[in-house]
């Protein structure tokens, strides 16, 4: 028990070496997945939607490394093609909420007053709903599909960014360099976008990395439930839903797509940890 030695207060791995390690592993893993998504047509051994009814429910073997599903489709090829959709869901869906959230946080924090009060009440209300429940409620109105998913995420996910940016802006707007810029006669818009935003956006970027994990999980869960990407499109959640009927005989249909989700998520989680430690924005 004597191992508890006092050391400087750090919440992360401790020290710069550790920080760069998560960053390196996370970055590497993420890069591999992105490359896989880009080169899917070259890398995938089979056509992801080609059925082969003479080779259904085959266990993993040399010809089909991760086995085949009930239509004889190659599971490995479907996972590789699914990378495109799942990464796109995680990354593209966050563009709108990221931009909107940052701008709302900027405006709310900078101007304060009635604008701030109204926007923050809207934020409180949105945050009172469980994230997932609100997203599926919105999708129930819009109908299932990828477009509904993007809209629903945009409507719900902006709150975290708005909160992060706003709390930075509240501090920054009284900073000397901002007052200097104002006294030089620069307009509000220029001060907000050129002087405050670049200094306030970092925590939002770090959070976006872990939000990618949340959004990929959300997207694949929705597809699993039948509210997102529709079959026969190769997407990991869809594959898991389709394989669930064959659990007793063909576990590989469900198992490997889930593993893919875990490893994509791991890449972005490590990236988020690494960035948070590197820039000292550990919450």
């Amino acid at each position: 028990m004597s191992a508890i030695t006092p050391s400087p207060v750090t919440l992360g791995l401790g020290g710069r070496l550790g920080a760069s390690k998560s960053l390196l592993w996370g970055g590497g893993l993420t890069l591999i997945w992105i490359l896989l998504a880009l080169t899917a047509p070259l890398v995938a051994p089979y056509d992801p939607t080609a059925q082969d009814l003479t080779a259904t429910l085959r266990p993993p073997s040399l010809t089909h490394p991760l086995g085949t599903d009930n239509f004889g489709r190659d599971v490995l090829s479907r996972i590789i093609w699914g990378t495109r959709l799942d990464l796109a869901m995680g990354l593209l869906a966050l563009v709108t909420p990221f931009v909107a959230g940052c701008l709302i946080g900027l405006i709310s924090g900078y101007f304060g007053g009635i604008v701030d009060i109204l926007l923050m009440r809207l934020l409180d209300v949105t945050m009172s709903f469980p994230f997932f429940v609100l997203v599926i409620a919105i999708i129930s109105v819009l109908g299932p599909g990828l477009a509904s998913f993007f809209i629903a995420v945009a409507l719900v996910a902006w709150v975290s960014y708005a909160r992060l940016v706003r709390s930075r802006v509240l501090v920054l707007k009284h900073a000397d360099f901002v007052l200097a810029a104002r006294s030089l006669g620069y307009g509000h818009l220029r001060v907000m976008l050129r002087h405050i935003l670049p200094n306030a956006v970092l925590p939002a970027i770090v959070f976006a990395m872990s939000d990618v994990v949340i959004t990929i999980l959300l997207g694949s869960s929705l597809s699993y439930l039948g509210m997102g990407v529709q079959p026969p499109t190769p997407e990991w959640g869809v594959m898991i839903a389709e394989g669930q009927n064959f659990l007793a005989t063909a576990w590989w249909i469900c198992f490997f797509p889930g593993l893919a989700i875990v490893f994509v998520a791991l890449g972005f989680s490590l990236l988020a940890d690494g960035l948070a430690e590197r820039f000292g924005t550990v919450e």
Binding site: M1, I4, P130, I139, S220, S221, I240, G258, V262, S269
Partner: protein
Amino acid sequence: MDRFRFVLYRPLQLVPVLFGISLVSFVLVQSIPGDPVRILLGVRGTAEVIAKVRAQYGLDEPVLVQYFYFLKNLAEGEFGRSIIYKTPVLSLISTRIAPTLFLLCYGVLMAVTIAVPLAVTASINRGRWLDALVRSYSTAGLGLPAFWLGIVLIIVFSLRLGWFPVSGYGRGFFEHLHHLFLPAFTIALALSPVLIRNLRASLLVELEADHITAARSRGLPERRIFFRHVFRNSLIPTITLLGVNIGWLIGGTVVVEQVFSVPGLGSLMVGSIFARDYLVVQAVTLIFACGVILTNFLVDVVSVALDPRIVL
């Protein structure tokens, strides 16, 4: 008892949020394309019933007035009728809420049982291989999809080993415990990484606090320092964390209920979405939001009760 005064005025502060929640649920159903009466009643519906629904929801009035009708109905506990189940939505919810609450509590208890010993082990052995092991679990576990985890547990524990049923809720407390073991374990495995990360972080901060150094310099045994001084002070952040994560947890429960066919609010909501039973979707969404608010309120009360330094 001044510290507990917030118990009286906090509900008043929540009134605007509650209004907002009702407004969002109202707008949700308003934005459904098509004739609301047809949607709310399904394909069938006699002229008499249609007239009654129009009057009840004020559907011929301007939107703002319709919202007041909606609030009035809510205040009277009138959530409308389900098209599919042909019963009042409120009674439908009251039969479905118990499995969900059971599952949530079961899952949280299990998650705490997993997370606390692991976080303690990691923080005591900071920087050594045990710490590294726990940390890799808590990082890799962040991306565990609950629905997939549930399926893997079904393959191993239901289909291969036959220890637990594949689905359902059972009758009586002990059958519930047995039937909901795998769903609760799924929730626990998905929730514990978040708990471990934060509990470990707060244990490490606590280990470096001045009163710990003081306790060490008085020659108290490390074990006693850890449990009497460090651990107790790290419990409050963990409880707060459960409050922060309740929304996320409810979302997970919706999916897990679907995987294991648990007859709770989550599977009711998912089923109603596919059946276009909008009043049920609306009511469940409202109930879940109120659950989040209530939980956060209770977390505040508990942390004030546990720590005399907290003033809200």
